[in-house]
């Protein structure tokens, strides 16, 4: 007897398309999720705390009364909320993330494990130093690796991210000039620089003097020399630069600058291209920050935290900020404040810096070793040049010659297609990619800056290059709808940034009727 009940095991014939709308607003695994403040009720909580013992209140009569307005949500609902939100994010772990200048490389999970080890991740910064010798040794080891990789004699670990590192470096430069009784007012910054560079120079009381780029995407040496005089405190130069090119005149620039009494700040955002192959100390650099969250794989976490240690030359080392680790009689010691004879410019951050990032970065460096770091740099450069080679006949490279770890395309290849760099980038979203950095650096029209990193296989690079070629072909064929309407397949389509900025809505507030009833 055949059982005719139960589920059919083959799909129905036909080519039914998805329903235009669904009752829930969800579309399969693509879930809509309200704000926390639109769910929950006051008596609910996602934690079970013990009852507080009965004691007198010592709050000085300043108790907080009334409802704070935080919704009460149970643990399963909180978990589901954030899992659903997470599904709306692109991430390195889900695909190639070619965001130029950001070094979106693989984030090893061993780093996460070591950062959570009892005795590292749970240490309190104000424990007696006798009880945290392992942590201080770790900081000392990290310092040794960073100094050796860069060929620089000193390092300040405390800056909280790259821009904070820039501030650290520029303050040391300013302090050195002040100590020498040298009053200088200008810092030279190439036009192609990250926005953090001029912003940082301004925080140190310097005016910013922009240097033009030459037609090879490098600092125009003549323009630089023309601006160099004894009023120049220093230069802030990114090398490899933001066009993805090595500044081949860097040593001449450093020599001329030193001759004029200035200091060389190097923005180390692109150190990934040269680690193990070039030591910034050999280039004449006086201060350089390292982005542990780029080069040394600590996760970006949706915008941070970062960590921006700064390596210093002998000339600037005395002015480095507190705190720092020293070898003392009874082991490692932490210098948290210098005596009156010290030359430190001061303290930049609470406690001792981003220890959680130090642990991850050291884990990463120990895993790679010096040989692996050099190989990673080479692979990142090889991968960027490979993509360039695969697309250069149809797209338009901004400059000739090999690039470093990222390749720069301008929008010449889109001329007369009606497709802009923005449209092209958004179409990549529909293809399942995070777009490249766009409209940066500012010196190139409609810039697309592509940094594949060393973490991609050749198959992955080929598929990416093929996708770029496919989209280029579609743009040139006049398939503008694919671009103008993109993205069509993402959790959201293009968002109205104008409306967001004209009437800023920066927090949730109760709906109007509920507020009227308050």
């Amino acid at each position: 007897m055949m059982n005719k009940q139960g589920r059919p095991t083959q799909p129905a014939a036909g080519d039914g398309s998805a329903p235009a709308t669904t009752y829930t607003g969800n579309r399969g695994l693509d879930m809509e999720e309200p704000l926390l403040f639109e769910m929950g009720q006051d008596e609910t909580t996602g934690v079970d705390l013990p009852d507080a013992p009965e004691t007198a209140s010592k709050l000085g009569g300043l108790e907080r009364n009334g409802d704070i307005g935080l919704p009460g949500v149970s643990e399963p609902r909180v978990l589901r909320h954030f899992v659903r939100l997470s599904r709306n994010n692109y991430a390195i772990d889900s695909g190639l993330y070619p965001l130029g200048s950001c070094t979106m490389k693989h984030n090893p999970r061993l780093n996460e494990k070591t950062a959570r080890l009892p005795g590292l991740g749970d240490l309190h910064p104000m424990q007696p130093t006798s009880t945290v010798q392992g942590a201080l040794e770790l900081m000392d080891s990290l310092a040794h690796w960073l100094k050796t990789m860069t060929g620089m004699p000193a390092v300040a670990l405390s800056p909280g991210a790259g821009a904070h590192g820039e501030l650290c470096g520029l303050m040391a430069i300013r302090a050195a000039h002040d100590a020498a009784g040298s009053s200088r007012s200008r810092v030279l910054v190439p036009e192609s620089a990250h926005g953090t560079n001029p912003a940082t120079a301004a925080m140190c009381g310097y005016s910013v003097d922009a240097i033009a780029a030459d037609d090879r995407g490098r600092v125009d040496l003549k323009a630089f020399e023309a601006k160099l005089d004894d009023d120049v405190a220093g230069i802030m130069l990114t090398n490899p630069n933001t066009c993805g090119l090595f500044e081949n005149d860097v040593v001449r620039i450093a020599d001329a600058l030193h001759e004029a009494g200035g200091y060389f700040y190097c923005d180390g955002a692109n150190f990934n291209a040269i680690m193990g192959r070039v030591r910034p100390g050999d280039l004449g650099v006086d201060a350089m920050h390292l982005n542990l969250h780029k080069t040394f794989s600590t996760p970006h976490g949706g915008g941070g935290p970062g960590s921006g240690p700064v390596v210093f030359s002998e000339a600037l080392a005395p002015f480095a900020p507190v705190p720092y680790v020293v070898h003392g009689e009874n082991g490692f010691e932490l210098v948290e404040a210098e005596g009156d004879d010290g030359q430190t410019f001061g303290r930049l951050k609470g406690f001792h810096g981003q220890m959680g990032m130090f642990i991850r970065a050291l884990t990463y460096m120990l895993s790679h070793g010096a040989d692996g770091l050099r190989q990673a740099a080479e692979d990142s450069v090889l991968s960027a040049n490979y993509i360039l080679a695969r697309v250069q006949d149809v797209m338009s490279p901004a400059f000739d010659g090999p690039c470093m770890h990222e390749c720069l395309i301008d929008d010449t290849f889109l001329a007369d297609t009606g497709v802009t760099t923005l449209d092209f980038a958004k179409a990549m979203i529909d293809e399942g990619y995070h777009p490249m950095t766009m409209y940066f650096p500012l010196v190139v029209h409609g810039a697309m800056l592509i940094e594949p990193t060393e973490s991609e296989s050749k198959e992955s690079l080929d598929l990416f290059a093929d996708t770029l070629r496919f989209l280029t072909e579609k743009a040139k064929q006049g398939d503008t709808a694919r671009f103008e309407q993109a993205p069509m397949l993402a959790p959201r389509r293009r968002l109205d940034e104008t409306a967001a900025a004209r009437k800023p809505k920066l927090r949730w507030r109760p709906p109007e009727p509920a507020r009227a009833a308050e």
């Binding site: 704000l35 926390l36 909580t45 934690v47 705390l49 709050l59 300043l62 907080r64 704070i68 009460g72 909180v78 954030f82 709306n88 991430a91 390195i92 993330y97 979106m104 061993l110 494990k113 080890l117 309190h124 910064p125 424990q127 007696p128 909280g160 820039e166 303050m171 001029p198 912003a199 940082t200 009381g205 081949n248 040269i274 192959r277 969250h293 996760p299 976490g301 915008g303 930049l348 609470g350 001792h352 810096g353 959680g356 642990i359 120990l366 070793g369 040989d371 692996g372 040049n385 090999p402 979203i429 060393e454 973490s455 296989s457 050749k458 993205p487 968002l495 109205d496 940034e497 949730w508």
Partner: protein, 447 residues
């Protein structure tokens, strides 16, 4: 090397596709004299087991606060972090995403930021908050700069209640500008005349509540005095759990609130990464530093979130930006948001009550120990004790007895002549046995 997917064959094929013979050709722009023939003199690569072993070795050389009675605070606090928090922040989609520059594929991060901003505004009693700063100390410096921009004045006044690191970071930040910091001596007794701090040139008065020494002050008269002189009141909160029990800075009249958010969801981690909170009134929003997330709609009219008011920031305004900050405390702010979501209003208040009650128990016990005077009349979960011996020695002696007693004030204020003072903090993680251990240990060491 396990992290590098390219094979030797891949590399050769790629070099030929590029049309060069070797990787050295791609480094042709590097001057010969600075090219390294070999990598620097450091160890070679290691497997996962070996590396983990090295890190475990380092971890074993320190005393984990979880393994001994611990009462250390002074701006960073040990709290229980629900397992859900650490699980969720390790979701790949949160952990390995960049800053949400492409909002269509970053709604997870953006919505969480919007929720974070709302939570911070609610607990501080303010209108709006930004999407985080590096930590409380840098947030304090940025708030002072912000107040100077708003008032177009250049004098920053810092009360003796403020954490020394916050004061030092603010002093360093303005060191090379036209702005000045006037700081009061450390106010261990909570007796400073705050109303005397403000004059006609003052851009802002920065106070901490509860203070570095633990005292809780009614700041309403100070807020009135500031506003009468058209100066701003900046209130620093280094222990955000206190906001579940103590009247909010917003209710006291603060114009800017600075906070260290570490207590909610973020481990002590030897000092970082933490999460700096910065909240203010609606009218000052365009002077805020750092990122802001705002609500809008997409092309189909669906609600969505974007980074907004970017014209304040360095990537557009360059040398005229409100701050040079770019990367912030992203994942730590997410941990904060998740932990706060789990607590809810009820749990947040319970947590605060529990902390306060433990601290009251602790102070009652320590007050009975010979050689210990409790300085504070008011406090939240941390207070100051005056010891009959130098606090630094006492702390070392107790560490040798496997008790992490507290923080000698002299460690943060070496020249203030406060060598006999120690800060002690109690949180929900401290048991009655811990309190027994500390009071017993102190009695022994001080006898």
């Amino acid at each position: 090397m396990r992290y590098l997917p390219l094979t030797h064959a891949d590399r050769s094929a790629m070099l030929s596709a590029i049309g060069v013979d070797s990787i050295d050709d791609l480094y042709q722009d590097v001057p010969d004299e600075v090219r390294l023939a070999e990598p620097p003199d450091l160890p070679h690569h290691k497997g996962e087991m070996e590396v983990e072993g090295i890190l475990r070795g380092l971890a074993d050389k320190s005393v984990s606060p979880a393994s001994v009675p611990t009462f250390i605070g002074a701006g960073a606090y040990r709290h229980h972090i629900p397992a859900t928090v650490d699980h969720l922040i390790q979701r790949s989609e949160f952990l390995t995403a960049y800053t949400p520059y492409q909002p269509e594929i970053s709604q997870g991060t953006l919505q969480a930021l919007f929720e974070f901003q709302t939570q911070v505004a609610l607990i501080t009693g303010m209108d709006v908050a930004n999407a985080s700063m590096y930590d409380g100390a840098t947030s304090c410096a940025e708030a002072a700069l912000m107040a100077c921009r708003i008032t177009r004045r250049d004098k920053i006044v810092m009360a003796g209640s403020v954490h020394p690191h916050y004061r030092e970071v603010t002093e360093t930040t303005v060191k090379f500008t036209d702005l000045t910091v006037t700081a009061s001596p450390a106010d261990a007794d909570g007796a400073e005349d705050l109303l005397a701090l403000v004059d006609d040139d003052t851009a802002c008065v920065v106070v901490q509540n509860p203070s570095f020494f633990g005292h809780i002050a009614d700041l309403r008269p100070l807020a009135e005095a500031c506003h009468a002189k058209k100066a701003l009141l900046i209130v620093v909160v280094t222990e955000v759990v206190s906001l579940g029990a103590v009247m909010s800075p917003g209710a006291m009249g603060a114009d800017i609130v600075v906070g260290e958010g570490q207590s909610i969801g973020v481990p002590a981690s030897f000092g970082g990464p933490y999460v700096g909170l910065l909240a203010t009134r609606d009218k000052y929003v365009r002077q805020l530093p750092g990122r802001l997330c705002g609500e809008t709609v997409d092309q189909d009219g669906k609600r969505g979130f974007v980074l907004t008011l970017s014209a304040r920031e360095q990537h557009i305004r360059r040398e005229k930006a409100t701050s040079n900050i770019c990367t912030n405390a992203g994942l730590c702010s997410l941990a904060f948001t998740i932990h706060m979501a789990l607590l809810g209003g009820k749990g947040f208040k319970q947590l605060a009550q529990l902390n306060h009650a433990r601290a009251v128990q602790l102070s009652d016990r320590l007050a009975g120990v010979g050689g210990v005077d409790v300085v504070n009349a008011s406090f939240f979960n941390e207070f100051t004790v005056r010891l009959s011996k130098p606090a630094a020695e006492v702390v070392e002696a107790l560490a040798a007895r496997n008790i992490l007693a507290g923080v000698p004030v002299s460690r943060l204020l070496p020249d203030a002549g406060l060598d006999d003072l120690m800060l002690v903090a109690a949180t929900e993680l401290n048991s009655e046995q811990d309190i027994d251990a500390l009071s017993g240990g102190l009695a022994e060491v001080l006898s």
